[in-house]
């Protein structure tokens, strides 16, 4: 069973419905025991980093999440929260992945980066099994992580940035796999099959 952490920000239902369509059992929770015992954990989220970090702190989840041993997937804001800090509201984050989240930059760039953009795969990973090289996925964000050793796939919008990353058992996607058509479904399915 996958535990979906309820960080109190919107869009959790989209993730729940996507897993339901795939027939993958999941539970939305803030319960430490449920999270610790889950086969995988998803940290979703849209909205502001500051609000989400405050919610996680209030639930005592900021100390629990970095210690999790099973596969963990951060989605969108959930990805950004896994880094050390975010420029958005200048807030300290969970510190699982080294680096700081920064605002997207580029000449005359329309912000937010909203819509379908392509992945450029950088490394092999079970998470990327069956994903073609030029797959389109759905993004909605204004901040991003730069390309680093953790980058499994990057995307270009004004600049190259990390679209999918991995640090040990922590995986993260800047886009929304739950709203990325068949490609997104495959990514979620792949994640659900990664064992501890």
């Amino acid at each position: 069973m996958i535990a979906i952490i309820n960080s109190g920000v919107a869009n959790i239902s989209s993730v729940v419905f996507a897993l339901q369509r795939l027939g993958i059992a999941a539970e939305v929770t803030t319960d430490h025991r449920v999270i610790t015992n889950a086969s995988q954990v998803i940290l979703p989220g849209v909205g502001a980093a500051q609000t989400a970090m405050k919610n996680l702190k209030d639930l005592n989840l900021t100390s629990l999440i970095p210690t999790l041993k099973q596969p963990v997937l951060g989605i969108c804001l959930g990805m950004q929260l896994l880094y050390e800090a975010s420029e958005e509201g200048d807030v300290a984050c969970l510190g699982v992945i080294p680096g700081k989240i920064k605002k997207l930059v580029g000449k005359d760039l329309i912000i937010p980066h909203m819509g379908w953009n392509t992945l450029a795969l950088q490394k092999k990973s079970p998470l990327l099994e069956g994903i073609p090289g030029d797959a389109y996925v759905y993004f909605v964000h204004s901040y991003c992580a730069s390309v680093s050793d953790q980058t499994l796939a990057l995307t270009h919008y004004g600049q190259d940035f990390s679209a999918i990353v991995q640090q040990d058992n922590f995986y993260a996607m800047q886009f929304h796999p739950e709203r990325s058509g068949e490609i997104g479904e495959r990514l979620l399915k792949n994640f659900a099959e990664i064992k501890s």
């Binding site: 239902s13 996507a18 819509g115 058509g181």
Partner: protein, 255 residues
Amino acid sequence: MLAKRIIPCLDVRDNVVVKGVQFRNHEIIGDIVALAKRYSQEGADELVFYDITASSEGRNVSFDWVEKVAKEINIPFCVAGGIRSVETARTILAKGADKISINSPALENPELINQLVDAFGTQCIVIGIDSHFEHNDYHVYQYTGSEKTIQSAKRLTQDWVQEVQQRGAGEIVLNCMNQDGMRQGYDITQLSALRPFIHVPLIASGGAGLLQHFLDVFKLANVDGALAASVFHKQLIDIGELKSFLQQHQITIRK
């Protein structure tokens, strides 16, 4: 590269999908969930669900319908219709919507835009604008869901697009009323005139009738997406065919 978006809109009234011409004389088109599913499978890049009379009737969009559609589709889902409070928006997002679009309620109470942005983030908040050309300028209209309620919002469209962006709106859908339902092409003149003032994604709405109209609006008005209703509902244009056509003409499209 970021792809241009093709966005079918489900105009809903009394639990069925309807379509009018220039916001009047609505006819019944079909079943909500069946259409939503078909568009998602045909390759739509996003789906908009718009309860057209919610605002003018002082109620909000049906939560049950939002959930039924959200469960079926695997593409982004934007919901519009009578959303007047942060709490209503929260419920709709909890039912599986990804974005909230507001139109008349934003004109009634512009501060609502800031409140929604603070609660859910810029990327979540879309502003729909019904814009009409008259007296040599573009003017905003509200309560356009019914001919009994439609009225001028007493604002110039250019002023309003700038204000909503200052308040944090993450996307603007510009419904060009003179073209709505006419299937004679998007209002390239209006969209091009306003584009320099819009620094968030801009979605063209109103007037699509032919494949060429979509190509024109992407090439000539530099919009990020094109929204249409009747041409998709009535199967005058197949989304898959449209996307192949645009791709052949060097428009970046998700296939």
